[in-house]
């Protein structure tokens, strides 16, 4: 699969990564290369093989329906770049 520059820009947009033109120029062949390399997986016959779900056989444990956390707004906001009046603040979103 060769990845062109338009595709690189689209993927970067999905991933929310601003990319410069030269990054795009560099990434296109790089990604093509890596993807071309991983595509050898296509050769493997996976007839009737289920995709792996748990690496080590294990059962999903569940939590009880009890409140164990909360009431620590200061800790939650402590590392925020911008927090006001008990909220995180982000550039205004127009819906």
């Amino acid at each position: 699969m060769s990845v062109d520059e338009a595709k690189v820009r689209h993927i970067a947009k999905l991933a929310r990564l601003a990319v410069t033109d030269e990054e795009v120029r560099a990434l296109a062949p790089e990604l093509s290369n890596i993807l071309g390399w991983v595509e050898q997986l296509g050769e493997v016959n996976v007839e009737g093989v289920a995709p792996m779900t748990a690496v080590i056989p294990n059962i999903l444990r569940l939590r009880e329906d009890i409140v164990t956390e909360g009431d620590r707004r200061d800790a939650v906001l402590a590392n925020a770049p911008v927090a006001e009046h008990g909220f995180f603040a982000v550039p205004k979103v127009i819906e």
């Binding site: 990845v3 595709k7 690189v8 993927i11 970067a12 947009k13 999905l14 991933a15 929310r16 990564l17 601003a18 990319v19 990434l27 790089e30 990604l31 290369n33 890596i34 993807l35 390399w37 991983v38 595509e39 050898q40 997986l41 296509g42 493997v44 996976v46 093989v49 289920a50 995709p51 792996m52 748990a54 690496v55 080590i56 294990n58 999903l60 444990r61 939590r63 620590r72 800790a75 939650v76 402590a78 590392n79 925020a80 770049p81 911008v82 995180f88 982000v90 550039p91 205004k92 979103v93 127009i94």
Partner: protein, 493 residues
Amino acid sequence: MAELTEFGVAAIRDGVKGGTFSAREAAEAYIAAMEAGRALNAYVVETPDHALAAADAADAARVSGDLKPLSGVPLGIKDLFCTEGVQTTAGSRMLEGYKPVYESTVSGNLFAAGAGMLGKLNMDEFAMGSSNETSAFGNVLSPWRRNDGGNVALTPGGSSGGSASAVSARLAPGVTGTDTGGSIRQPAAFTGITGIKPTYGRCSRWGVVAFASSLDQAGPMARDVRDCAILLEAMAGFDAKDATSLDLPVPNWEALLSSDIRGKRIGIPKEYRIDGVPAEIDAAWEQGIAWLRDAGAEIVEVSLPHTKYALPAYYIIAPAEASSNLARYDGVRYGLRVQPAQGGLNDMYEATRAAGFGAEVKRRIMIGTYVLSAGFYDAYFNQAQKVRALIARDFEQAFAQVDLLLTPTAPSAAFGLGEKLADPIAMYLNDVFAVPASLAGLPAISVPAGLDGQGLPLGLQIIGRPLDEQGVLNAALAFEERAGFTHRAEAWW
């Protein structure tokens, strides 16, 4: 009495217990070594007060007679472990200055066992790298140098590069590492130390900055097998806060250590003999085989047919999981925020992530986003998870015939900084021998086997059945006794 930095984990524990020296003396010796070793750039944050407080507590505990398993042992903690109130960056600009309000389960377990923290160890950004060159806080230097007198700066390997360099240069008796696709074993091999990745689920992932959730495992790195057993025992254990944690008791790995492996069957996977691997790696492998045979083990050739597909499968699954795990770094709740003038929310996201992530992290986020994007899921991710199942089945079938596997840890000795930066795939190939066990969640250790012609350490890997850390440790001990690896990088820093 010898330099206290000559003492490893067990030696310090026992020395403090026996009163040969105080925990404070040991901590001070290592703090001094850490400061003297700054040229290696192994530590990104130094926390001497933490180490000294734990040491004083240990000395008090000795008097009151309630010493804990790791009382008085100062450790280095990889910067992927969230440490309460202490900057945790995962080697990324994105998290510069981030101070968690919580302690990771694994570091918490170590501290509860009496250990202290010397500092946070440098690493590849978000554990993505095999040379520690992707760290936002500078390269870590290996204490080792080639014997050609050229003084080329060598990589300690990665992603646990700071961890490896610190142990190898005696800047810590033992450290934590994490291993997603070889990040404990490959650096251990490059720096002549021992490191074990336990069975997936043995160590809680809670509080460990996530790279690839289905692969990430914490483990210890130290000077020898016994020290690794001691540390792993303290790190491991069921944690209800991690839904993938194994609800099993932690075995007494140290107490049950035994180098008697007579009658054990050890498999040699023929697919691990690949072209382009230096003859010295094969020689070391043959030597290792001879040592284990000498220890009374039976050597059996086995086949792991899907080995060559492990690395490509890994480079779909790990980036896919990472692209999602790293979406939370968006400049809203913590970490870096870059706000372009007049920019909206999306501009803030894109600018923040462009400035906060390094090239390799971006590359993997791009790959992961691509393979999960519309129309490609089945061809890439699902196919990779099926191949992964086949790789796990290969191991299952091999372990029906043998108890353990012996392989090289890495396809080369440590290389020079910058040598592989230009070619991502060449860099990825470093983990060709380490990744299969990661995909199958198996316990695997790297032990020093000797030096190559350039005087650089080579390591061999022993892989065990799920949950058979004991078998892995015991075989490694038998190996260690015969290898008698005592080489040291002489302190030039």
